[in-house]
């Protein structure tokens, strides 16, 4: 079930109403049932796969907690391997077989590439990682194994964050299913406002920009440099608004129910370095990789060469997590290269800026750092979005060629959409700055009497509705 659908608009109020009406002992059952309905709205049969992974990790968690030494480690490995096998089969089977065939071809072996027609279960990567963090935390002794199957299943399947995160940690979320959530006016209104903000990002910004991006990246060779450049800029905001919009809706929906999910984005395009970008972008995933891949590999507690390798491995796997395609792997590795290069050149850059009189707090230095970070990120997005590495290279090498202001629109993107698209991006950025300083803004709104406040909110919601794009578009990260 998509958040931007009539089904969800009916489903959600019913679930919230029932949640607050029911006594505590039935609430978690309601959430589990609702999450099942939510998930089965995609492909009903795939709930069996989810059930299998839940059962494996539920049992594994209990036995891992009871065990010691080698047996404990073995159980952890069994759990990780079996969970990852499900992910590998559904997500990477075709990628692995075609890559293997390609490799064999280099040696002159010709293997038939029988592609298996497997549909990826929605959100598989997300709830797999959430389950994996649970068993690892139980193994490390940071989390008690959950004995109540219903509670554990709800932890994995909690519908606001089931299909596209945030990827929660058991320490944050599990205990919340046992707590009494009272009706709280502030929680509910804040949650609804957060959801509205998410819908603005998704419907008004992301889906509008997608019309342009899909045309340009669908056939890059049919578009000039100006269109490629605009398409790349638009994709940067499309993927940000699509994904962070989903996170906002998920966090807001959970907040309406009284649950607190972790923040997943902190205005990443305001970053002054690539490393800062990765502390602000998809925070739940980047911290997951940091805690369960990067640090176990040694993190920074190793020599410089090994440190660089650790970063590249971590980001390479992160790229692969995003999709079964070499473009994603190269995107991940490219970001790894950015980080390693940034680390290697930090001192030199500090000396350089110092020599031209630009201290750390100077506006010009911050501006240059912001611009270079944004540019590097956009270049990486080219690799991420392109259908192939060949296409990615074509886009990159033609960004500045053949600019033609009279040929700016695309097949689906009428010219009148262009000012609206740019205005939407500006409004997004302005609102983000406003939210950062929201104490003063909230007090302005709070001064209005209740009918006036409600009318203002209704007008804002109506603006989102009027300017939204309603093609049946999934959220980008659903495919991961």
């Amino acid at each position: 079930m998509l958040f931007n659908s009539i089904e969800f608009a009916i489903f959600f109020p019913i679930v919230v109403a029932l949640f607050y009406i029911l006594p505590q002992r039935w609430r978690v059952h309601l959430l589990l049932g609702a999450s099942c309905i939510f998930y089965m709205a995609f492909i009903p049969a795939y709930i069996a796969i989810l059930f299998v992974t839940i059962l494996i990790d539920y049992v594994a968690g209990i036995y891992i907690e009871r065990s010691e030494g080698k047996r404990k480690k073995a159980l952890l490995l069994v759990s990780i391997v079996s969970t990852c096998t499900v992910l590998a089969v559904f997500k990477y089977m075709n990628f692995l077989t075609s890559s293997f065939s390609g490799l064999a071809g280099l040696f002159g072996w010709h293997l038939s590439n029988a592609a298996v027609n497997i549909i990826l279960p929605v959100g598989l990567s997300f709830h797999t990682f959430q389950s994996l963090s649970y068993v690892v935390e139980v193994y490390r002794g940071n989390q008690k194994a959950e004995r109540n199957f219903v509670v554990y299943a709800t932890y994995v399947m909690f519908f606001p964050q089931l299909v596209a995160g945030p990827i929660e940690r058991p320490q944050n979320l599990l205990h919340q299913f046992r707590e009494w959530h009272r009706v709280n006016y502030v929680n509910i209104t804040s949650g609804l406002k957060r959801m509205a903000w998410g819908f603005f990002k998704k419907l008004v910004v992301a889906d509008r920009l997608a019309l342009y991006v899909n045309d340009v990246y669908g056939s890059p060779r049919s578009h000039n440099g100006l269109q490629l450049s605009i398409g790349t800029l638009f994709f940067a905001y499309q993927i940000y608004c699509d994904f962070s919009g989903y996170s906002d809706i998920a966090i807001g929906a959970a907040q309406v129910l009284g649950f607190k999910l972790m923040e997943n984005f902190r205005t990443p395009y305001h970053s002054l370095s690539v490393s800062e970008f990765w502390r602000r972008w998809h925070i739940s995933l980047s911290t997951w990789f940091k805690d369960y891949v990067y640090i176990p590999l040694g993190g920074r507690r190793v020599g410089p060469v090994r440190y660089a390798i650790n970063i590249l491995i971590t980001f390479g796997i992160s790229g692969l997590w995003h999709g079964a395609s070499w473009t994603y792997v190269w995107w991940g590795l490219l970001n790894g290269v950015y980080l390693v290069t940034g680390w290697l050149t930090k001192e030199w850059r500090d000396r350089f800026f110092g020599s031209i009189g630009l201290g750390e707090e100077t506006v010009m230095r911050k501006g240059m750092m912001w611009a270079s970070t944004f540019l590097l990120t956009c270049v990486a997005w080219i690799v991420f979005r392109a259908k192939s590495l060949k296409d990615a290279w074509y886009v990159f090498s033609h960004l500045l060629q053949g600019w033609n202001i009279h040929q700016i629109k695309t097949e689906q993107f009428f010219l009148r959409q262009l000012p609206i698209a740019f205005a939407a991006i500006l409004i997004l950025e302005a609102c983000q700055l406003w939210i950062q300083n929201r104490d003063s803004a909230t007090s302005t709104f709070a001064k209005l009497p209740l009918p006036g406040r409600l009318a203002a909110y209704a007008a804002l919601v109506l603006l989102v509705v009027m300017f939204g794009i309603y093609r049946k578009t999934q959220f980008i990260y659903f495919q991961f």
């Binding site: 607050y20 006594p23 505590q24 002992r25 009494w180 009272r182 009706v183 709280n184 006016y185 509910i188 209104t189 049919s222 689906q412 009428f414 009148r416 209740l450 009918p451 409600l454 009318a455 909110y457 209704a458 007008a459 919601v461 109506l462 509705v465 009027m466 939204g468 794009i469 309603y470 093609r471």
Partner: protein, 386 residues
């Protein structure tokens, strides 16, 4: 405290009321506090519910109001596609010759040239992206509100037998969904269209990619789109592009156009409707780029069925597949559509043939008194007095 303990202590304190739990002295039983807290929660629940209800009522009122304003504005538009639809619904066209069809009709048949040549009033009610079933609905709507024409020119396409799977630009019909002749076929094609009629703003926002609501609101404040429809004709001042080259590369073995039973029935029904209204019907297959004709694999089947209908119902079929300029991209915007220059040349050819047809098939009523239309902007329409 957990819920079970709360339930137990609550039972023990049944009937006891606490006005303000904050005023309880320290050491009072936790259950008493919890009971008072629940009473406060209950009232907070009502506050939330009340606020949500007020919010939804205000939102609904805004949505209804805005929907009404947009519809009102669209009804008053005098230019563009909405201008044509408004004139049709208000019965202001009343032309003697009506051209019906898809975008090939809309951009290929110039009624001004037909008028000038034949001396009869003409109007083009062609629709972009429409199949025969929707073209039939538009014609029925026209006949419902306007004086019946003497001649209907039905423009045919290779896809004339294709039933509509998805309505193209449904927003163009939203202000007129109350009209039975439009509502019935739209409902059949898209059962979900009731949302566009009964849910405020749905039709203008969800189904509309071109933001027509801006046109509606703009009309209310005195802003109108530039007119690019001339007696319903929408010329395409565009040059040939490489689009066909890409299409041919993508379809080296050609394409097949669907021949649906519903499509055939729609064309037959169109013939019956014209007969019932005693309107002379002429089928015209407008010029098509010759290379595209070669790419259409089942062209002979389509034309076999078209000729079959034509002969069965004695409807003249004027086939311009071999038009003398079919191979010249100069006159085409793409393989299916004439550009402005091509439409002018074709319309002259058609008008001359039509003139001959009219001479050979005089109308039953003679002695027509014709007042020429100055333009298409709500000035007196042409009235043919019998």
């Amino acid at each position: 405290m957990n819920q079970n303990a709360f339930d137990e202590s609550r039972g023990a304190l049944a009937g006891e009321l606490v006005d303000d739990w904050r005023s309880l002295p320290e050491g009072e039983p936790a259950a008493v506090r919890a009971l008072a807290e629940e009473q406060e929660r209950g009232s907070e629940g009502w506050i939330v519910l009340r606020s949500l209800v007020f919010f939804l009522l205000i939102l609904a009122a805004f949505a209804l109001g805005l929907n009404g304003l947009i519809t009102l504005g669209l009804w008053h538009i005098k230019t563009g596609q909405y201008g044509v639809s408004n004139r049709m619904i208000r019965g202001e066209i009343n032309a003697q010759i009506v051209i019906n069809g898809s975008s090939r009709a809309l951009s290929g048949f110039d009624p001004r040239i037909i008028q000038a040549t034949t001396g009869l009033t003409a109007y083009n009610i062609g629709r972009n992206g429409s199949q025969t079933d929707m073209q039939l609905a538009v014609l029925k709507t026209y006949l419902e509100h306007n004086r019946k024409p003497e001649i209907v020119i039905q423009s045919l396409d290779s896809f004339s037998f294709e039933a509509t799977r998805e309505v193209y630009n449904p927003a163009q019909y939203v202000p007129y969904l109350y009209d039975r002749e439009l509502w019935t076929p739209l409902r059949r094609i898209n059962p979900g269209i009731w949302k566009s009629r009964y849910v405020p703003l749905y039709g203008y926002v969800v189904d509309d990619m071109s933001m027509s609501w801006v046109l509606g609101l703009g009309e209310l404040v005195g802003w109108s789109q530039r007119e690019d429809y001339f007696l319903g004709f929408n010329p395409r001042p565009l040059k040939w592009t490489d689009e066909f080259k890409s299409f041919r590369a993508a379809n080296p073995n050609g394409v097949d156009w669907p021949i649906d039973e519903e499509g055939k029935q729609s064309l037959e029904e169109l013939i019956q409707v014209c007969r019932a209204h005693e309107v002379k019907l002429i089928f015209v297959y407008a010029p098509e780029y010759s290379e595209m004709q070669k790419l259409t694999r089942n062209r002979s089947e389509v034309f076999r069925d078209l000729h079959d209908l034509s002969e069965r119902y004695s409807v003249p079929l004027w086939d311009y597949s071999d038009w003398r300029y079919s191979a010249e991209t100069k006159y085409f915007q793409n393989s299916q559509h004439l550009n402005e220059e091509g439409a002018q040349v074709f319309s002259e050819d058609l008008s001359n043939r039509l003139q001959g047809f009219i001479s050979a098939n005089p109308f039953q009523s003679n002695g027509l008194q014709v007042r020429a239309i100055a333009d298409d902007r709500g000035v007196e329409t042409n009235l043919a007095k019998r």
